[in-house]
């Protein structure tokens, strides 16, 4: 198939336009965080750092950042442990019910976030009678963050041979020594990548969070949602939105450089739905 020059140019132009379509709205948020005009009309009327200073001084924002960090760190740690254990058992062992568990793992990402959210909300409030708090958010986040860690770990395990572990055992190393000296070093960068993804996922998750967070608690995305419709908070919302963009993109970028595995679509799927 030989495309004419004209066809190639047309395709190139369409691609450029779609990329503009993808980037312009995000850039607009960044620009608006420096826009001196409070109504944020276009074009911007002047440059200011006032909103950034305001955001740093806002106790509400600071509290929300701390909650978000806490939730993201704890759920990442839980999902690292659970995801690794799951990946090793599903990759290195054959047992009855393995296919069922394989299917169970993708459920949290196969169903829309609103379903996960209401299912957990219902479980906590109606069935168990547990009051919602940041802990219930952690439990919810760990459930889908586990999947990113699992995906990264199992992809790595598939490429490494169980023979090394057998050799280690044959040479007299105990089960824990083998894990510490043979299995873990092979997994390390995959786990780091999975952990970074899990962190980014949890940090800006909104849908499941709205269903599982306690009254009076705010994470950063919840803070945005609460202040979105208040015109006098708009400047600070822009700044917080920029912070969210940066905090979610940087770990992903690092993870991609670290793992060498594609964190593309399947990871993104987790992102979208767990969300």
């Amino acid at each position: 198939m030989r495309l004419s020059r004209g066809a190639k140019v047309v395709l190139g132009v369409i691609t450029a336009l779609v990329l503009l379509f993808i980037y312009i709205p995000l850039m607009l948020v960044v620009v608006n965080s420096f826009n001196a005009d409070r109504t944020f009309g276009w074009p911007p009327k002047g440059f200011t750092l006032e909103w950034w200073a305001k955001a740093f001084d806002s106790p509400g924002v600071r509290e929300a950042v701390l909650s978000s960090l806490w939730v993201a760190v704890v759920s990442t740690l839980i999902s690292l442990v659970l995801g690794t254990l799951l990946a090793i058992s599903l990759q290195r062992y054959k047992f009855f019910g393995r296919d069922v568990i394989n299917l169970l793992v993708i459920l949290p990402i196969a169903l829309p976030g609103v379903v996960t959210g209401i299912a957990l909300n219902n479980m906590f409030t109606t069935i168990l009678g547990v009051p919602l708090s940041l802990w219930t958010v952690v439990i919810a986040h760990a459930t889908f963050c586990m999947v990113t860690v699992f995906n990264n770990a199992i992809a790595r395990l598939r490429r490494t041979s169980a023979g090394l572990e057998e050799a280690s055992a044959d040479l007299g190393a105990g089960v824990f020594t083998t894990f510490g000296l043979v299995t873990f070093p092979q997994l390390r960068s995959a786990l780091l990548a999975g952990g970074l993804l899990a962190f980014a996922l949890s940090f800006d998750e909104i849908i499941v969070t709205t269903f599982t967070i306690g009254a009076g608690e705010t994470t950063l995305p919840i803070w945005i949602l609460q202040n979105l419709f208040r015109p006098n908070q708009a400047p600070v919302v822009n700044v917080v939105a920029v912070v969210l963009i940066v905090v979610s993109i940087v770990p992903i970028w690092l993870a991609q450089r670290l793992s060498g595995d594609s964190v593309g679509v399947s990871g993104a799927r987790v992102k979208a739905d767990g969300h």
Partner: protein
Amino acid sequence: MAQQTQQLPPGPPRNSGAVPRAKANNFSALLHRSPRLRLAALLTAPAGWLVLVYIAALAALLITAFWTVDTFTGEVSTEWTTENIVTVLTDPVYQRITLRTLWIAVAVTVIDMILALPIAFFIAKVAPARWEKLLVVAVLMPLWASYLVKAYAWRNVLAEGGLLEWLGAPIGLSSPGYGETAVILTLSYIWLPYMILPIYAGFDRVPDSLLEASGDLGAKPLTTMRLVMLPLLVPSIIAGTIFTFSLSLGDYITAQIVGGTTQMLGTVVYANVGAANNLPFAAAVSLVPIAIIMFYLFIVRRTGALNNL
């Protein structure tokens, strides 16, 4: 096992403190002798978590849909009734919301397909090799930006006196304002990369030699596309539609942010969990997108699309 390992002194097995070491050795030896025990130690925590937290929650959701709320106390009462399900399926209000949600999901899917096909084709087959990787990253990056921020960004774009009005003014177009059109636009924006990536991967797998052979045999580019490329791409396109369709079906945040008064299934679920405090009804409503997605997955499972996710 990972947890237990962390309790040991780090590094190679140097002997520090004879007694705990000996205990750990015994345990390690026990595990070594029994693969079943090893598997149990590995699997109990994660499988238990998935079953106790997630599967139990889904099962409870299904059950709760058949319960009701005491109108006086506002407490959930565990009397069995199919009233919620019947209301969701027969009340014209909810039928309209279901249809609107379906329409939005289909529109978003079609728009994304139309946008994704040329760009994915360009990246995979037309762009110079050194550009290819860069373009993929350019598409991937914003995909990871927060979903909430993207919806918020469109609230800005569509705002009165905002960017879209400014851009449209010279050609006599105005912003559609907040409403159903805004929801479709914003959701198409948010899920577009999820459509581009599987289709790009699909194009990438089509060998160039196949296209050359088709050209050498006299097919015009459009004929090659229709007869050679499209059939090979169907699973990838369907994989993309699974993302855009099911993600749009469950949405409620975008509807809240740019939808004005637009109600989607997700908005009804959220309203009944929060303000209306009717969890059984919310549970019943949430079964609708689950059923639609299951049905869609059932239809497309034979195309091989599920392996392309």
